[in-house]
Symmetry: C2
Subunit: 133 residues, 2 copies
C-alpha cells in the first residue's frame, strides 16, 4: 500500500433519479468506474443485492476502498471513497457518482486519515441541483 496519509470522502446522495439503484450489476459497474476515475488500482470487489431491495458493495483498492449502500425506496445512496497516497483524486469519483446517480441533493465530508496531527479533521460541503454546487 501507499502512505497511510489519505483523504476519506463520506457522501450522501439524496433524491437520486437514476433507475438502477436496485441493480447490483449496474451499481457494481458504477463503483468500479468511480474507482478508476479516482486514479486507484482495483484489487477486488464484493457486491450484494438485498431482498426486497437495496445494494451494498465495496471496491477494494491498493489505496484503501470505496463503498456504497443504496436504499432505492428512499432514492438514497451512501458512499465512501477512502484513498491513501497523494496522487489520487477521490473528488473525481464523487462527482462522477453524483452525475450518474442523478442526485438532486447531496452532502459530503472530507476527513483526513492516517495522521495523529490532523486528528480526523474534516470539512463539510452540501449542494443541490438548483444551487449547482
Amino acid at each position: 500500500m501507499t502512505s497511510p496519509f489519505g483523504k476519506h470522502i463520506l457522501a450522501e446522495y439524496f433524491e437520486c433519479e437514476c433507475t438502477y439503484l436496485d441493480s447490483e450489476p449496474a451499481i457494481r459497474e458504477l463503483m468500479l468506474e468511480a474507482a478508476s476515475i479516482s486514479g486507484s488500482t482495483i484489487v477486488g470487489n464484493i457486491f450484494h443485492h438485498f431482498n426486497p431491495h437495496g445494494v451494498t458493495g465495496v471496491v477494494v483498492i491498493a489505496e484503501s476502498h470505496l463503498a456504497i449502500h443504496t436504499w432505492p425506496e428512499f432514492r438514497y445512496a451512501s458512499v465512501d471513497i477512502f484513498t491513501c497516497g497523494m496522487h489520487l483524486d477521490p473528488w473525481a469519483g464523487f462527482e462522477y457518482l453524483k452525475q450518474r446517480l442523478q442526485s438532486r441533493k447531496w452532502l459530503s465530508k472530507e476527513i483526513i486519515r492516517g495522521t495523529m496531527d490532523e486528528g480526523l479533521s474534516s470539512s463539510a460541503h452540501s449542494g443541490n441541483v438548483s444551487s449547482g454546487i
Copy 2:
C-alpha cells in the same frame, strides 16, 4: 437492509503492539469477530495482503460494512464501522478492536449517516493507554 439511519465510526489505531498487523488470516478473523460483536449480520468479506506488507479487508454486513487497512511498518490501522439501524452497537466493535490491536493511542469519530437533517454531523473522541479513555 434496515433503515438508512445509522452510525459510522471512523477509528485510527496508532501504536498497535499486536504482532499480527501483517497477517491476513488474523486480521480477517479479527474483523469478522468485530462485526459479530457489533450485532451485525455478515453477508460476505474480502481481504487482501499487500507486498511487502499491509492488509486491507472489508466485511459486508446486512447493515452496511466494516473496513480495515493496516500499515504494520507504522504500527497503524484505520478502521471504519458503519452500521445502519438502531439495534446495533458499533462501539462494541471499536472497543474490541482497540483491545485486540493493543493500540496505545487512538482517535475516533462518529458520524450520523442517512439523514439530511443531521447533515453528516460528527463527534470526536481520542484517548491513550495512560488516560484510559
